[in-house]
Assembly symmetry: C2
Homo-oligomer: 371 residues x 2
């Protein structure tokens, strides 16, 4: 009888892994069997904390090294929330050990690094997928249908995507996201992975032909080191701008905003919570097709908004997008045939992101991309 | 006894003047006494059309030349909806004739032109104001209070402003807005005056220090001529980007969108209809202060949105913003002391707009502005 459950190990004890502890439990076809850190006590503490909140039976094993995790015969897949600076090495090692890989974002610090991870996964015939949750929301189905409907949005012209949060005062001291060795892409890697990813998703993962990026603000870790992006904007032009243009903005110093606006020849669509959906049991977006009515001296703009919603809990639920991620990944693992579309999506995002970095380094000059 | 009514003449018969026919009637302290065109029959037809919809008693006089209008002793102020290419000459002539000037936007085709209009108005001691209606909405009072409140939006980081409409198929043939002689600034002049104006309003009319512009698409009138902007984006950096960045987008080929988002360290504000308010008797905006709540394995994003509304009809009403414009302008005229803040606002917008044009002509290179 073929296996019906994909068995996971978590490599690292980053905070986001606690969310996925719950997601793996809720997925139905997934089981967490081990958590590894370079320090077994840290693994134990992580497991104890999660067990007190969301108990698993049996509890996962606490491991004291990543090598130990890769040697586990009862682990099919590794979830890697390690810092970006360490991720490349261990993602490649995981693939070489025959493990399927769920990789946090940004997947790598360069295109070459990500290409080598993806090549290692292909050589080992294992699935690669990045850990982006929003791509697994059921909300995307009606959103795609409306974007592709010629009568609703029509031909797409402009995409805006902004994702920000205001970091606490101790961020530079307490958080690795401003450490140039661990997270060299700063807010662009942490938040821009989502904004660029959404723009590319809207565009069916076609690449823009011209890219600009601008480092609006940079900062260093409290202990020093090279500066990383703290506020970053970019513009992506598809078909040299003749078709669609897209603007994105990311910041560690603006209150949370998760705005997506897609405007087309016939109407527009807006999401207010595209990354981390607002608490509730429905995920929604708004379709706007305002109508201008002129009758001699009267000039009126009629609002025609339509709310579209899907039944899906925002988080911590079997229907939630992070749960869908692990359910989908486990299905691919259990099916035995890796889906190359997932690594292709990650690579497209990484390529655009690095082109933005190159542009910013050249003072905002346009960088050309080719398919 | 001092006069209690400001008497207007309209110079030109553009469609937008019909809206202001009604606005002048509703203002309470304003009266339309003459309409001038280069062809008296066109003036008569314009008046007949408006009288059938919104009758004035007595009906305004139909004049056959702009000179004739400027010679009218019973005209205090001229509203100039002429094409941009003709506006400069006649705005200066109006000021020289001692008439106060309400000038449609874009006010001029260059900074020098607008400076000469403003200088002529100053020399004649007459009021200058551009015809932008949204600046006269009562909605701006609570919006300003919230933007300036340290606990709500906090320090502003990012402003996005988009204003678009999808022109009909015969636009290039039937509309002057793609005629390089009459409207050399195309969509940037027609729509960007609003988007840039809103960004500057949010910033208390401080100028950005660095500006980029990008001609995403250009087009020519059906009868030929130089290309004008049909789709245009820009980014404005205040304090060299260390403080606030702003992105704007204008297009003649995207369905109507009038988006403003202002994000700050504590929250954000969104308007969906900043130029032409949606039909109704309230004008609104939304304040968002989402809260991220993390409890071990649970990661929730709580939506905290607040709708702020003011009682104001969207259009065609004594409370509407276009009516407020003429009521305010008439008050200034009747008060006898021109307010220099209005021409200063117009000049700031024109300066930023022309810097965007210069950047676009230089392939998107940054253009520096100084106060």
């Amino acid at each position: 009888m073929p296996p019906t459950v994909c068995r996971y190990g978590i490599m690292g004890t980053a905070g986001i892994a606690r969310k996925n502890w719950l997601a793996i439990r809720n997925a139905g076809n997934s089981r967490l069997v081990a958590v590894a850190s370079r320090d077994r006590d840290r693994s134990r503490a992580f497991i104890a904390g999660c067990q007190a909140d969301v108990p698993l039976d049996p509890a996962p094993r606490a491991l004291g090294s990543y090598e130990e995790l890769l040697a586990c015969e009862d682990v099919d897949a590794i979830y890697i929330p390690l810092p970006t600076g360490l991720r490349w090495q261990w993602a490649v090692e995981a693939a070489k050990a025959g493990k399927h890989v769920v990789c946090e974002k940004p997947c790598a610090a360069s295109v070459a690094e990500l290409e080598s991870i993806i090549a290692a996964c292909a050589a080992a015939d294992v699935q690669f997928m990045d850990g982006v949750m929003w791509m697994h929301s059921k909300r995307l189905e009606p959103l795609r249908a409306i974007l592709d409907d010629p009568a609703t949005v029509g031909e797409i012209r402009r995409i805006v995507s902004q994702f920000t949060f205001n970091a606490p005062d101790d961020f530079a001291a307490a958080n690795i996201r401003m450490d140039a060795e661990l997270e060299p892409l700063g807010c662009l890697g942490d938040l821009g992975w989502y904004t660029i990813g959404m723009i590319l998703w809207v565009m069916h993962h076609r690449l823009p032909t011209r890219v600009t990026g601008r480092m609006l603000r940079s900062g260093s870790a409290a202990r020093g080191g090279a500066p990383v992006p703290v506020e970053f904007s970019g513009e992506l032009l598809f078909d040299d701008g003749a078709g669609v243009s897209a603007s994105f903005f990311t910041s560690f110093r603006m209150a949370n905003q998760q705005l997506v606006s897609v405007g087309g020849s016939r109407g527009s669509v807006r999401l207010d919570d595209f990354v981390l959906p607002h608490v509730g049991n429905e995920l929604e977006f708004t379709v706007s097709q305002p109508a201008f009515v002129n009758d001699v001296c009267r000039f009126d703009m009629e609002r025609h908004d339509r709310r579209v919603a899907v039944a899906e809990y925002a988080s911590s639920h079997p229907t939630a997008q992070e749960t869908n991620l692990f359910r989908t990944f486990s299905s691919l693992v259990l099916g035995g045939i890796p889906d190359p579309r997932w690594p292709a999506v990650s690579l497209a995002i990484q390529r655009v992101m690095m082109a933005c970095v190159e542009s910013a380094e050249r003072g905002g000059a346009e960088v050309r991309l080719t398919e």
